[in-house]
Symmetry: C2
Subunit: 333 residues, 2 copies
């Protein structure tokens, strides 16, 4: 790879249905020059997230991604040149640098990260995934010892951490994931009390058996039918932390929402609350201290799924949307 | 009417579709004898509520009503004979005495009420309706001065009070109701800033025009399409107080829920919270003090819809479900 070539992956067309490799194209662009207040960064690890797909639908908590531009995405990157105070070559930062080798980014849009080994932990347990799990479970779901916590997309980057934190807090933890292997991994390796394979068919029955006392906290990563099944099993005064709706991202938006809204919400006095991890960043130091102590003591296992080569980024996202990853997926540039 | 006859209205069959007069039958029963710990009460005003219909579907926060039994329902009643300490003939109580002249009820299931004129206020502004409006709006919706509050079934017993309290708290208040007359009444008599007639067709557009800054608090009495329209217009960090789902009560349960759940809940960080007024009864004294001072100062107008004769109770409920009432509907026995 030459230092004067900037490999870039463009979103050439916004998908209407399922996302495919035909929606992307790799081109060789120029390495940009940073302006005043900007830094030039070189991406080291690009984060893959279901949210990447959601951004293609339209504006969410960020502007929509547009066709024929570099695909948006967060990364852990290294500062190569700086025209901004506070950042120097060699510094490690996190920011939306897009799917490309190099980006010139305003320093104010970057977060300086500590240097640590492995660097990948900055995208998994100490990154958005870990903090999303932490704040969503503890500040929104608010589980109490002995309660039953259910998490969907449980083998994913966020879900795998949610379940482990819930165990640390003394809860009965049920994970919902796709496939026998993932489910076995959740119970045998991560310490979940039970796992439900949604590809197995009878999700509602399996969930009811796995959560015999009902559900007190449901951490929802998927929406759709699984949310509907959980709503029916929620206990009075249960909390649903709405983190995402993976089931709704890749394809046409659903024509309707889950049954039981608002009927079951009223009768059971449920709270459904949406959250975005960015809203909690003022409390991230305390969260990171907890996460670090749990990792150090072995209570929290970190699972990463690192794919090599920027050219594989589209395939990595498509596979993530199909549920093929286990733990935090990222691309080593 | 003889004092030895107890007129009773039975639910003869649980409705599958719409509730009709054929589902009820009036019979002459006996005046019961109170046992130890019970009192004999004579109903004075029977409360009509959309919840009466919801109880026919199955267990909610109370057991389901069953066919061929006296229809359940709350009333303001007078103690006629007492075998319980703390209650004496002439006392006024509230409780589920059913649709009948006389009932023998355990004293612990009755709430002793103050004597006031008009007595009907014990069922409207100082009863379940007023307290539901008060706690649902202030403790669940938590409106701040200057925010936009939308309430559905706004001309009903709860909605008409919700909107007025929101005005007292300095909010921009929009009511959704059925028909021009009701809408005109909301703005001209009750001080709502705007009213949207859902029978007029373009509810979403009308609502958007009436709430140009978006919705901060939506007090939902109806569920269904109106909830869906409000979800789309909610502002970030908006609150939806889920009080009921009238649109879903009279007929088959809906096959699906509103679009935007959970997608919009996540992106906008919304809170949807169900509540039951009974959960707040430990705080009722403070609520009643507020309500009384607002009524006394003329800031809160009390609207009641009193129908004469116990034989008209079925018709009164059927009409309430069709939205024909304005304010709190009750039957004078």
């Amino acid at each position: 790879m030459s230092d004067t070539v900037n490999r870039q992956i463009l979103l050439v067309e916004k998908p209407i249905g399922k996302l495919g490799p035909e929606h992307f194209k790799m081109v060789n662009g120029k390495v940009p020059e940073p302006k005043d207040g900007e830094v030039l960064v070189k991406a080291r690890y690009i984060s893959l997230d279901a949210a990447n797909r959601a951004w293609m639908h339209g504006a969410t908590y960020r502007a929509a991604v547009e066709a024929n531009t570099v695909m948006a995405g967060g990364s852990i990157a290294e500062v190569v040149a700086s025209k901004a105070p506070g950042l120097a070559p060699g510094d490690i930062v996190f920011g939306d640098t897009g799917w490309q080798d190099y980006a010139a980014v305003p320093a104010k849009h970057l977060t300086k990260m500590p240097k640590m080994e492995p660097m990948t932990h900055l995208l998994s347990v100490y990154g958005i995934a870990g903090l999303t799990a932490y704040f969503g479970l503890l500040h929104v779901g608010k589980p109490r010892e002995g309660e039953t916590v259910v998490v969907s997309a449980a083998a994913g980057s966020v879900g795998s951490i949610v379940g482990q934190i819930a165990k640390i807090k003394g809860c009965h933890v049920v994970g919902i994931a796709g496939g026998k292997d993932k489910c076995h991994w959740l119970t045998s390796e991560l310490g979940f009390d039970a796992a439900v394979d949604y590809k197995d068919g009878a999700t509602f029955k399996a969930l009811r058996a796995a959560a015999p006392k009902g559900i007190d906290v449901y951490f929802d990563n998927v929406g759709g039918d699984i949310l509907e099944a959980c709503l029916a099993l929620m206990n009075n005064r249960g909390r649903i932390a709405c983190c995402g709706a993976i089931s709704q991202y890749d394809g046409m938006p659903s024509a309707h929402g889950p049954r039981g809204v608002p009927g079951l919400i009223v009768v059971k006095r449920l709270i459904m609350q949406g959250f975005i991890v960015m809203d909690y960043m003022d409390q991230s130091a305390a969260a990171l201290a907890d996460l670090q102590s749990w990792v150090a003591s072995g209570k929290l296992k970190v699972q990463e799924d690192v794919i090599d080569g920027i050219e594989n980024t589209p395939k990595a996202l498509i596979g993530l949307l199909a549920g093929e990853n286990r733990g935090k997926r990222m691309v080593k540039v």
